[in-house]
């Protein structure tokens, strides 16, 4: 079972394909590690992240021009667990299909077929799991990667995916690739083309508008950077915050996120959670960074304010940030680093206006105070560590 949400009456609509690969049966720690996949660790973040992203699309995604129409979900995990869609009311739980090549192809066929109905449909693809990339080649590793006899087939070749989808009539396409990068990149030494095509599509676009693709492939370096065990990945957390508020602006008169805003917001939000040396091992290609609107949000009523320090090596659980409104009545606020163990930040929900920020670190480190006007939906404040 892969379709966890569907509303056939929506046209044009947004059609989503989500793949979370945590269990690699031919990977490390299994009874049958293979030559190709034996270096792949078992991951616990992807099933959690994939479920969180599915939940978000089904319960929170809004696009007035292109509402949610379908969500396909495939998950591999150590112990297959049901997924309960947040709506519609009365929807029963399902056990998502395992993301083997065969199952992903079947889901991609359905996903792609639905996108054919209208050029104004929007495609969204989210993958979480192991990824390999060298140079301009990249592959997303599926659950049956490394299966003897078809060692390199159980993966999605990224160029084949985005290239084929340029034949789809659906103009707007978003690809969010939440990959754990490890030394498995070395596989490209032996085989320059890893992975398979998951969808075949002849060109039948039927109109003159060029495809607008947006691919975000931040790839955090190593399992440690990818995410804490059993939790949402760092990228998934940043992605959902960006979609919920951080990537939105009201340049059109209403609050909407755009793809390039997503890129900037996710970059910023990940920076609180992963040191720069473990980020950005590969960059999105300029071919696929076009700008278009993605989702609508309600007008934000607060400025979600992230406060960090200029040198994160001085940060620890004892760090405290305080803020108080300037020039108007209001209570001072305080937040502890210990309440945000996934990163080096404190967070406040502030009313818009001028605030004074100060912090306390473990001696001998000190930070300078800062006054800044904050405005919805998000503010980022960095306090300078004194030298």
């Amino acid at each position: 079972m892969t379709l966890v949400y569907g509303d056939p009456g929506i046209d044009p609509g947004t059609h989503v394909l989500i793949v979370g690969v945590g269990a690699y049966p031919f990977g490390r720690g299994t009874t049958q590690p293979s030559l190709a996949a034996g270096g792949l660790s078992q991951l616990t973040s992807p099933p959690v992240s994939a479920r969180a992203v599915a939940d978000w699309f089904i319960s929170s995604f809004r696009n007035r021009d292109c509402p949610l129409a379908s969500v396909e979900l495939l998950i591999s995990e150590a112990a297959p667990t049901r997924y309960q869609p947040p709506r519609p009311a009365g929807a029963g739980p399902v056990i998502p299909s395992t993301p083997t090549l065969e199952n992903v192809r079947a889901a991609a066929k359905d996903w792609g077929d639905r996108l054919q109905s209208n050029k104004d449909n929007m495609a969204a693809f989210y993958f979480c799991g192991h990824g390999v990339s060298v140079g301009q080649q990249a592959a997303l590793l599926l659950a049956d990667f490394g299966k003897p006899g078809s060692d390199y087939d159980g993966a999605i070749d990224l160029n084949l995916l985005t290239g084929t989808m340029r034949n789809s009539p659906a103009i707007r396409q978003v690809y969010l690739l939440d990959c754990c990068r490890t030394r498995a990149d070395g596989l490209y030494e032996y085989e320059p083309m890893i992975g398979s095509r998951i969808r075949s599509q002849a060109s039948n676009r039927g109109h003159d508008e060029s495809p607008q693709q947006f691919v975000l492939f931040p790839t955090l370096d190593g399992e440690e950077a990818f995410g804490a065990p059993g939790s949402r990945s760092a990228f998934a957390t940043a992605l959902l915050e960006a979609l919920d508020f951080a990537a939105a602006d009201r340049r059109t008169g209403t609050w909407r996120t755009s793809t390039t805003n997503l890129h900037d917001a996710i970059d910023q939000l990940i920076s609180f959670r992963v040191p720069p040396q473990l980020r950005g091992r590969s960059k999105p290609s300029a071919v696929e960074s076009t700008r278009f609107f993605f989702n609508d949000i309600d007008p934000p009523t607060v400025a979600r304010s992230y406060v960090t320090v200029s040198d994160v090596s001085t940060w620890n659980d004892d760090a405290t940030i305080e803020c108080e409104p300037k020039g108007r009545p209001g209570q001072p606020l305080s937040d502890q680093a210990a309440d945000h163990d996934d990163g080096t930040y404190c967070r406040f929900e502030l009313d818009e206006g001028c605030w004074s920020f100060k912090g306390r670190l473990t001696p001998p480190h000190e930070v300078a105070e800062l006054e800044q006007v904050v405005a919805a939906p998000v503010a980022y404040i960095t306090l300078e560590v004194k030298r």
Binding site: G135, T164, G327
Partner: protein
């Protein structure tokens, strides 16, 4: 008039970038600090001045109040300031970019090719990480990786003229396993090759053709080839070797043609410490930059994968080259009248990648000219084929587009890394229905899997 005067400066840099970066100015609050009721934001291309530059870019704003000013750097975090401007004030906003002890690489510091905090240890204020929790764990990982990196090679890298076979054979030669041991990459340096500037982290060379040589190099791209003297000085390919690793560089010698300012140059620099993304277990990475007043910012945004920002700099870059031509005919401003067809190729890529319509645009017909008149630029035919593939209405059109792409591959490896990526995606699109497309994909994949995708020009780490 209420305005901000954006004065962005890169310490130690020579000259300036007339069209250097994109700045965003957004109204945040009124003078009393109350949040702005109406949305107002503008994005402008800005000049980035070097060490001794004077001046700024005026940005008219709608009212007095608080504004957030962000300068988007190609590879580093945006530089952000919040300022308060009074009614009818023209407020200078001084934005000083991070200085670097590698003064000879100041513009590379701007582009983010040099590490973000050059005056600090890579793990922070001290080698001992005091952060705790998950981030402490991550910083320990970083510290261990930094400390356990193989030591940088003591010897300076060697630079050689590289002999790459013409046409499709070149792809196969360069993409072959064991290519780094090929004698074709172990010859003499180019004639007149300069001595490097170097320190413990970087080694750099600057080597740029004279205007006369530049004009001849452009002629050479038309297919007549170069005189042996010019070829010895400015070979299409350079090999840079260090500690067993070889980087092959496609050099855009003809970038300026006969029109170059004194402070503009082609620079090569080698990071002795940090690895190439193509070979993360080995220290050493080569980059090539074209320090052009009008195009450097755009090229570096392109290399960093920020098409949206590169697009914003394209029109001002062209306008700064030939403002009269821009008004009369953007087409001629971009081709023929600009410095050289390599500049036009960069512009062409951006226009194609950013196109929202498959209907013929003003620049479509000169894609044909670029491909036809400059067979020495493989990118021309490839970009033409990719564009025609987007515009294909039926199988016959698609096959004609493939023929163009294939012709481009037959001309050799492209100058621009992004061209190679576009070719891969286009061939992937065709490979189901067009004979030969799958084979063409396999031809180029040996090279595309070794390209440093963080640079605008083609730099290949050989196997």
């Amino acid at each position: 008039m209420t305005a901000l005067l954006l004065q962005t400066r890169q310490a130690y840099a020579e000259g300036m970038l007339e069209v250097g970066a994109v700045a965003t100015v957004q109204l945040v609050a009124d003078l009393d600090g109350h949040a702005a009721q109406d949305w107002w934001q503008t994005q402008v291309p800005i000049t980035v001045f070097g060490q001794f530059g004077l001046g700024g870019v005026p940005v008219t704003v709608p009212q007095a109040g608080y504004y957030q000013v962000s300068v988007a750097l190609p590879r580093s975090a945006d530089v952000v300031q919040q300022v308060r401007v009074d009614e009818d004030e023209e407020l200078p906003v001084q934005i000083d970019l991070t200085a670097s002890p590698h003064e000879y690489l100041a513009w590379q510091q701007f582009s983010g090719a040099i590490r973000d905090h050059p005056y600090r240890s890579e793990t922070g204020l001290a080698d001992t990480v005091t952060a705790t929790g998950r981030v402490g764990e991550l910083l320990n990982v970083v510290r261990d990786r930094v400390n356990l990196r193989p030591a940088a090679a003591l010897d300076l890298p060697t630079v050689s003229v590289a002999a790459v076979a013409p046409g499709r054979d070149g792809w196969l030669q360069v993409g072959a396993p064991g290519a780094s041991g090929d004698q074709s990459y172990q010859g003499d340096p180019p004639e007149g090759w300069p001595s490097p500037s170097w320190d413990s982290e970087f080694v750099a060379w600057s080597h740029t053709p004279s205007p006369g040589d530049g004009a001849e190099l452009v002629t050479g791209l038309q297919g007549q080839g170069l005189t042996s003297g010019l070829e010895a000085k400015y070979p299409r390919w350079l090999a840079v070797r260090s500690d067993g690793a070889t980087d092959l560089v496609s050099v855009p010698w003809a970038w300026w043609g006969a029109l170059r300012e004194d402070d503009e140059a082609i620079q090569f620099f080698y990071d002795r410490i940090r690895p190439s993304p193509v070979q993360p277990d080995q220290p050493g990475r080569l980059r090539v930059t074209v320090r052009d007043r009008r195009w450097f910012g755009l090229l570096e945004y392109l290399g960093a994968g920020r098409l949206d920002r590169a697009v914003q700099l394209l029109e001002p870059a062209i306008a700064n080259e030939y403002p009269e031509e821009m008004t009369a005919s953007p087409e001629s401003a971009l081709y023929g009248k600009t410095k050289s067809p390599l500049v036009a190729t960069a512009g062409a890529f951006i226009l194609i990648a950013d196109a929202t319509s498959e209907e013929p645009q003003y620049w479509d017909r000169w894609l044909d000219n670029l491909a036809r008149w400059f067979p020495g630029i493989p990118d021309g035919a490839i970009l033409l084929g990719c564009r025609r593939a987007e515009q294909a209405r039926d199988q016959a059109h698609l096959e004609a587009a493939f023929t163009q792409v294939s012709d481009g591959i037959d001309r050799g490896i492209p100058f621009f890394a992004a061209t190679m990526r576009l070719a891969s995606v286009t061939l992937a699109r065709m490979s189901d229905t067009v004979a030969g497309a799958e084979e063409a994909m396999r031809t180029i994949v040996g090279v595309s899997s070794r390209v440093d995708s963080d640079q605008p020009f083609t730099v290949i780490r050989l196997r």
